[in-house]
Symmetry: C2
Subunit: 422 residues, 2 copies
């Protein structure tokens, strides 16, 4: 006999493999007799507040398994933070009310640092409101900035996308450089930490290989030194690939992409560290440039996901179910690296207190002395994360993705009227 | 006994599969006893003028075959047009001199419309200068704007990249739309013809699927109608994916990306139809946007090349060798579609006079009545071109690419002093 239902929700920016975690959770939970029904909140925590809960009973196992190769967030995600409980208790009480109404005893929240914070708050409120809730955070972020865990599911695939794209495009640039583009600038996501930009460094397998310059948010942008490096590279090999993190700032802490650029309407120029850097190169050095901003493509390219990352994503999902059903409240399954070569890892529970609201920056030891590249230590850390294939089934040249029914469970409560109400 | 040598050169923008054509040509030519040595010009026609010719004798067959999965242009390409022969005869005479010095009897020029023009000019000058040269153009362009041939090698892979990327990123947007980005704008290459932007339409498998709006260079941009469509889409489904061709112009013929936008330094804003359209959406409708400009990524993403495209690329290479050795001067192997479903095709020689300096635009019958999408006829044409897998061998998560020795043949002539000299 079951002892309650399990609720899963997705939070924050999605990744190429967050649905793989979802699929692993749903399949593992279905196998456990303790679990009655598996539910998923629509659009993350908002769905829990609004009592918009998908009842997954009727979903075909084949489609649940197809989540392993479906990018995006199948149940919807959100960027929405719970208020401070000392200031506004109502949303917490509402959440417990919804969980109680649907007999939800386990809540698995799949997200990054903010989501770990939400999970931590909920893990405490259950006891306070006398509701026996076990709350487990499940890691996910392409930014790789979660502490404690060796890496975050979602990062390895985005890192592989970055390294492969930079390698491929650089072969293109190299072959055309004499009469066309000499400097190619690729923009990687990462507002605060340079993990993704750094992973482009894996594309360089031999000295002189692209990328020739990596601009990290951890290193203040020094225009003169940057231009010198680009010029020296072009003079030596005829072309230059630059990878710039969207989060790069100048010595005054201003984002490059916002540094005084206004359009004809007086608006701050939107987005684009890459176009800014590319324009600078042409203005100051006269080289023809091209730039690429793959934006969401880098976090949704499931077709080139890393096998390691996929395995991580599924393993944390499975472990989260185990922890939850074992009553391990306020933990997150963390990836622990046992060895780099051969790459071996395991999953261990980590307390949410150590995870919530912390950011793991690129360590100094990963950044080369000149600030424009990565070290051997960084390569040792990053290399295993982009390895292995993660098969994509294709139909007519397009990826096959899960097709879910997404039937909402019948409401049992009046609509939520507070902040975040529909 | 051989009756001469064969020269291959790459021209114009490279594609994900131009090296596959190169590999097919080299392997086919090596098998023929008529052919002494296979040479490749460094950086296209410039290498022929400068007598910078790679002697491919020493290249390993394994590496030649690895060209089938190597993006970029392995021998270097160029954007450089021969002058009008009536005005400047010197480069033509030099070219014949180089070909004669290296006993080159067959010249295979792999490029788009401009290159077909060059090949045509050379095919005529041989007779005029009493040198027995057979000149064959080999098609290649992601723009798909070559006439006569049903499609151009390189296009199918870029089209697949486009459709897959738009599909994947749209799943991301859909899952985050309630609290984050509502409008996602993807920019496709195509300065004159909207073939690539149109191919994004393949991502939509059911009515309502992304992309919801495709902006083609063939349809003048109508701001009010565009905004209405975006608004209606967001109001209906909560989000909207827009695909914009870099070549879209307003009713006055100005490129969108250049329409009066200047930065703080008074420079025309560089590149970016996508950022322009995205900014417009936020300014006028208030929706949060994101935009992606994959730029060179879309033409170098060999890892997601279409199997059909790869087969085309190799078949035109093989046919080009056959035509050349059979003495068929001034032709290009063209792809002839025999049936769309099941997809069947063959290669036929087409006279260069019918190809040089012509552009094949997207036919009216491929553009939906409202101008924002593609028709069933377009889907029938495009669908087979993105199908089939083109295997990529991986090592450590990165694509394995050809490693050539690229040894230059010994010079026999004084350096070229004219235009295009090194």
């Amino acid at each position: 006999m079951s002892s309650g239902n399990l609720l899963y929700a997705q939070s924050g920016g999605v990744t190429a493999v967050i649905n793989a975690t979802a699929g692993a959770i749903i399949e593992a939970a279905r196998k456990r007799r303790q679990v009655g029904t598996v539910l998923a909140a629509r659009n993350g925590i908002l769905g829990a507040l609004r009592e918009e809960l998908y009842d997954l009973k009727g979903e075909d196992l084949r489609q649940i398994r197809a989540l392993a190769h479906t990018p995006g967030g199948a149940f919807g995600s959100c960027r929405w933070k719970l208020p401070d409980i000392a200031k506004d208790r109502a949303p917490y009480e509402r959440l417990i009310e919804v969980l109680r109404a649907h007999d939800i005893r386990w809540f698995l929240y799949n997200g990054g640092g903010d989501s770990a914070d939400t999970a931590l708050k909920l893990s405490r409120i259950g006891a306070e409101l006398d509701y026996p809730l076990v709350c487990v955070a499940v890691p996910k972020t392409i930014d790789n900035d979660l502490p404690v865990t060796d890496c975050s599911p979602g990062f390895g695939s985005a890192a592989r996308y970055t390294a492969v794209s930079v390698l491929e495009a650089s072969l293109d640039v190299a072959s055309m450089a004499e009469t066309s583009t000499k400097v190619f600038v690729y923009e990687a996501m990462g507002r605060h930490a340079g993990w993704l930009a750094a992973s482009a460094g894996l594309a360089a397998r031999r000295p002189g290989d692209a990328p020739h310059v990596i601009l990290l948010p951890e290193v203040p942008f020094d225009q003169a030194r940057f231009l010198d490096r680009v010029k020296a590279t072009v003079e030596k090999i005829g072309w230059c690939t630059v990878v710039v993190s969207e989060g790069v700032r100048d010595a005054d802490g201003r984002f490059l992409a916002e540094a005084g650029k206004r359009d004809a309407f007086g608006h701050a120029q939107l987005g684009g560290a890459a176009p800014t850097v590319a324009r600078l190169v042409t203005d100051k050095l006269g080289y023809k440039h091209h730039w690429a901003v793959p934006d969401y493509l880098q976090r949704s390219a499931r077709h080139i996901a890393s096998g390691t990352d996929l395995a991580h994503a599924q393993a944390v999902g499975k472990a989260a179910v185990e922890y939850a059903l074992a009553g391990q409240n306020a933990v997150m399954p963390a990836i622990k690296r046992q060895s780099a070569a051969p790459y071996r890892w395991e999953i261990r529970p980590a307390p949410l207190e150590r995870i919530a609201n912390q950011e793991k920056m690129l360590p100094k030891s990963f950044i080369s002395k000149d600030g424009f590249g990565i070290t051997a230590a960084a390569r040792r850390y990053l290399a295993p994360l982009i390895q292995g294939e993660a098969k994509t089934p294709w139909r007519d040249g397009l990826p096959v993705v899960a097709e879910l029914k997404l039937a909402l469970a019948a409401r049992k409560l009046p609509p939520w009227q507070g902040d975040g109400g529909a």
